[in-house]
């Protein structure tokens, strides 16, 4: 009970400060650090999602990005995906599955010193591509890999 109360108080204070900051024009909504990009994640089309998240969907295919994912995923609920980007100055890595109901799966912002590497496990509703989008030096690069899913991961 106490914990819940504290959480609510903390939450309302944080929301209040953020509101003031946004109101004062100090922070542009959608670009607020640590704010979850709900608009981008809510998009049903991958291009829209990427444009909302990264500001553009214009990407160059790059051989410097490698995606490690199984060719055949026995269980779509758990598809291991590892993205490695060999180029310099990687700012973010975004993982998307265009055939999912919500195509945008995960996005990793990488600070200076972080390598162009991210590994996680994602859900895939059906067979299709896994897309990696890497932002480096203000430009977007992409690569994809097809994954065949034998059992869907979205409950069905």
């Amino acid at each position: 009970m106490n914990e819940l109360r504290r959480l609510i108080i903390k939450g309302s204070v944080a929301a209040g400060t953020l509101g003031v900051a946004v109101g004062a024009g100090l922070l542009v909504p959608g670009r607020v650090l640590a704010a979850w990009p709900d608009k981008a994640f809510g998009q049903k089309k991958m291009e829209d999602a990427l444009t909302t998240l990264l500001g553009s969907a214009e990407m160059t295919e790059s051989a410097e990005i490698s995606i490690k994912a199984p060719e055949i995923a026995e269980n779509g609920a758990v598809v291991p995906v590892t993205v490695t980007a060999a180029m310099a100055g990687v700012e973010s890595i975004t993982i998307a599955a265009p055939n999912n109901p919500a195509p945008l799966v995960a996005s990793f912002d990488l600070a200076d010193g972080a390598h162009g590497y991210a590994s996680t496990r994602i859900k895939m509703g059906k067979s299709g591509d896994v897309i990696a989008v890497v932002k480096a030096g203000g430009k977007l690069y992409t690569a994809k890999k097809g994954v065949k899913v034998t059992i869907g991961g979205c409950g069905g």
Binding site: L7, G11, L33, A34, W36, P37, F41, A77, V78, V79, P80, T82, A97, N100, P101, A102, L104, V105, A106, S107, F108, D109, L110, A111, G113, A114, H115, Y117, A118, S119, T120, R121, I122, K123, G153, C154, G155
Partner: protein, 102 residues
Amino acid sequence: MATIKIRAKEKDGVTTVKALMTHPMESGLRKDSKSGGMIPAHFIQEVVCEVGGKMVMNAHWSGGVSKNPYLSFKFDGGKGETLKLTWTDNQGKSDSIEEAIG
């Protein structure tokens, strides 16, 4: 209750972090087979990793990340420092862990 298992190892100037979190990661798109209603969304939205108070990695996730999510990333340096990993979900819950980089 700790919900995060983490391992951070430094080798040749590069630290590799591997983390495993306990979380249902409900996308909100799944039906409850018993009641027929939708299972409400409950997933980790954000994972932040700080080393020595400096942010190294900040991940934004959707419900498309698997249940009990796994995460791995790498960064330069980190030897002898302490790493802090925090997750926050869409219901406002959060947990964090501190780990000395070995």
